[in-house]
């Protein structure tokens, strides 16, 4: 087994593989895969900050991704004025009420920390506040949802450029992480895993069913983009010239002007898609580099050393006067903010927000596989994990198809087994992921790129 793999070699291999996909499949596929690899890398870095730096096990990734996605809706969609005038006040009042309840719970926790009956107080407040909240918000919610139910039926957003939503997503995620962290972080590792998983379930339920906020299962489509639209590109002069320039050799071979124009049109249409994806790739690449840079800085700073000390021996760190609870909460918020940022990026890239598509297998456990496979506690490892896992995730279906055809080649075309296996090709990715995780945990538990241990 190779002890140390240089991260430069790994990334060269991944770049080569992406280029190969571009050459043999298509550049559109290669770029959309690259984009999702980059988004996955950001998610994996978020989880790595929590798990790799601080040893906090967060199975609520899905929830924070959904909050990031919700932020894109809240920021970029134009506001629905009728809905605001119909029920805006009611929603604001109930929001205020909710904030009061949460603050009062925190105040009670602080002020009455010695009181025996504190817990019962808090419990009573929570139980009473739910029907009250329903009573306050109920009428306005039904008013909002009844306005233009087919096309809007929700409050809409702030009509700002969608890039802002990435930061808003991060801030919202951090705020939710603050509440979740206050509640759950005191628990032991396996309880923390289960409770964060359940909290993410609650978040998804809320996003799915509060239609006045997110349109719920009716989805929000046609979100804004930070890059140009294909249709506009196809009309603009400079883009057509650019395509002409790149394909000049191909075009100059054709003599008839009509054929030439139709070919140029085709090329413009196909390259406009590639160009849009390329723009996304550039933005995402810049973001990955920025987050990677700061994560590396943080990891090697005194603060990073303290976090690792807390992770490796909590008792000792506490004895040295470090505030473990506070640091845990902080890093939980930080990691969740990055996950929320990635969630907003993902929804921006997809151009639509579909709350029912959030499933723990894809949005929580797959991200965890990325971190564990790439290398816990190593930022480059997390990025690499994001790349490798997403690459396998996408390419495993064609790969499984080849393998199935190889083994069932002697069977008849109408054979039941062959048809059944070919239909279930998409699920081979789960099998490959599971086996990959089991093998890595067994033979290379520190991941592909292990954590760098600095010895003085």
């Amino acid at each position: 087994m190779i002890k140390n793999i240089d991260f430069r070699i790994c990334f060269s291999v991944m770049t080569l593989l992406t280029i190969l996909v571009g050459l043999f499949q298509s550049w559109g596929i290669a770029l959309s895969m690259l984009n999702l690899c980059l988004i996955s890398a950001v998610m994996a870095m978020g989880v790595n900050i929590q798990w790799g730096f601080a040893g906090l096990i967060n199975f609520g990734v899905m929830g924070f991704l959904a909050i990031g996605g919700l932020a894109t809706v809240l920021v970029s969609v134009p506001p629905v004025n009728e809905a605001w005038s119909a029920g805006g006040v009611g929603i604001l009042i109930s929001g205020l009420f909710l904030a009061t309840v949460v603050t009062s719970i925190f105040i009670i926790n602080k002020k009455l920390s010695k009181n025996k009956y504190k817990n019962y107080f808090v419990f009573l407040i929570i139980i009473l506040s739910i029907p009250l909240l329903k009573l306050i918000a109920g009428p306005s919610i039904s008013k909002i949802e009844s306005i233009n139910a087919a096309t809007s039926g929700f409050l809409g957003g702030a009509n700002l450029p969608i890039i802002f939503s990435w930061f808003v997503g991060a801030i919202l995620s951090a705020l939710v992480a603050f509440v979740v962290g206050k509640v759950c972080l005191g628990l032991r590792s396996d309880y923390l895993a289960i409770s964060t998983l359940l909290v993410s379930g609650i978040i998804i339920t809320i996003v799915k069913h509060e239609e006045w906020l997110s349109r719920g299962v009716k989805n929000v489509i046609g979100l804004k983009r930070p890059v140009p639209y294909e249709v506009n590109l196809q009309k603009s002069e400079w883009f057509i010239n650019l395509v002409q320039f790149f394909n000049s050799s191909k075009l100059s071979n054709i003599l008839e002007p009509e054929v030439k124009i139709s070919l140029l049109n085709q090329l413009v249409i196909s390259s406009s898609g590639v160009f849009v994806k390329l723009c996304f790739s550039l933005i995402f690449l810049v973001i990955v580099f920025i987050i990677l840079y700061f994560s590396e800085k943080a990891l090697n700073s005194p603060w990073g050393r303290m976090m690792r000390a807390i992770r490796d021996n909590e008792e000792a760190a506490r004895a040295m006067g470090k505030n473990v609870v506070k640091q845990h909460l902080f890093i939980f918020m930080l990691g969740s903010a990055i996950i929320g940022f990635a969630g907003a990026m993902l929804v921006t890239y997809d151009g639509l927000f579909t709350p029912s598509s959030y499933q723990p297998l894809r949005y929580t456990f797959l991200i965890w596989v990325m971190v564990l496979l790439g290398g816990t506690g190593n930022n480059y490892g997390a990025v690499l994990g994001g790349f490798v896992v997403w690459f396998i995730w996408i390419q495993s279906a064609p790969f499984a198809m080849v393998v199935i055809n190889l083994f069932t080649g002697h069977l008849d075309e109408t054979s039941y087994i062959k048809g059944h296996l070919q239909n279930s090709v998409p699920y081979f990715r789960y099998l490959i992921m599971g086996l990959g995780l089991l093998l890595v945990m067994r033979y290379r538990p520190e991941g592909l790129l292990p954590e760098k241990v600095i010895k003085n």
Partner: protein, 336 residues
């Protein structure tokens, strides 16, 4: 005021479904809690183990049906159950030998076990979807209703009907049988006592000459039986869909922890607590109050604590409240 009708109403919409769902959760939760107590980790692959067992039962049911064998009024799946149990035991033992044993011998920390069980979850998930597909499958045959709402109304002359599905009775009877045998085994037999001893204090149990390999083997066998039975009952009552089974893991975890992790009896009660709060808190009591309140005080709203959309969220919320206030669970589990 009409008390009889109101009681029938509650029985029909809360008590009967609650007992059925509660039994299914309880069986599942006992399995999770046994794994936690003896093997000392939270098994995230449990929902998919249930799906696997149910899948084998369904395949066997289809086979039996194609041979023309049926179980009369009862569903054929009950005949197919032993095969499902045997294959699930085989799969569990295979995974234990190839995966868990290594980490047990290494005495890895609980998080490693969780991560490894995630790997197994992925593998089982894939196997079930590749073999039987991701779609909804209804494999209930035999007699559907023991009592239909209309028949009940005609029989008693009341306004409210009471419908009892045969799967609900089967679930209850099977749960009673399984749990009585299990608790008799755990509390009265020597092997069961040694299992509890091992769960309570591993070192002391080893000193007393208890064979850990035997205990682990036994645990996997019991857990596989419980998973298959719980999965089949749930599938008969509702329908089989791999994704639902994965999702059911969450209320099962909630039931386990609420009852005190590692405590089988607690898990049993936890299952019912979760089931009844999920159903009871999302039920609209308007009609119920109509019956018991004087006419001028009839409620105008639905009188529903929280909307049905939040059914799952209730179990999660209960779990989180329990974790904050009583981390050991309501029935004093242990923290290993």
């Amino acid at each position: 005021m009409d008390y009889l009708n109101s009681i029938i109403l509650l029985t029909n919409f809360i008590i009967v479904p609650g007992i059925t769902y509660g039994s299914q959760l309880a069986l599942g939760a006992i399995g999770v809690t046994l794994i936690y107590g003896v093997l000392r980790f939270a098994n995230f692959a449990y929902g998919d183990l249930m799906a696997f067992g149910t899948m084998v039962v369904i395949l066997m049911t289809w086979y039996l049906q194609s041979k023309g064998i049926s179980f009369g009024l009862l569903p054929t799946a009950l005949l197919a159950l032993p095969v499902g149990i045997l294959l699930t035991i085989a799969v569990s033992l295979l995974f234990d030998k190839t995966v868990f044993e290594y980490y047990r011998n290494k005495k890895s920390n609980p998080v490693t076990f969780i991560v490894v069980s995630l790997g197994i979850m992925f593998v089982l998930n894939a196997l079930v979807r590749i073999i039987i597909g991701p779609n909804d499958i209804n494999f209930m045959d035999g007699h559907k209703f023991i009592m239909k709402a209309r028949e009940f109304k005609q029989l008693t002359g009341l306004n409210e009907g009471l419908a009892i599905k045969s799967t609900q009775v089967i679930t209850l009877v099977t749960t009673i049988i399984t749990c009585s045998i299990l608790f008799y085994f755990l509390n009265k037999t020597k092997t069961g006592k040694s299992m509890r001893a091992y769960s309570n204090n591993e070192d002391l149990a080893l000193l007393s000459g208890i064979d850990p390999k035997k205990i682990v083997l036994l645990t996997w066998i019991i857990v596989s039986i419980l998973a298959t039975v719980a999965g089949t009952l749930y599938g008969l009552d509702k329908s089989f869909k791999p994704f639902t089974y994965f999702n059911n893991l969450l209320p099962i975890f909630a039931a386990t922890i609420v009852g005190g992790i590692g405590n089988p009896l607690g898990a049993f009660y936890g299952g019912f607590l979760i089931a009844f709060s999920e159903i009871g808190l999302t039920y609209a009591y308007k009609k119920f109050f109509k019956y018991i309140m004087p006419e001028n005080l009839e409620p105008s709203t639905l009188i529903q604590f929280i909307s049905t959309d939040y059914k799952f969220a209730i179990s999660f919320a209960i779990l989180i409240i329990v974790l904050i206030f009583r981390p050991n669970g309501i029935f004093k589990g242990k923290v290993i």
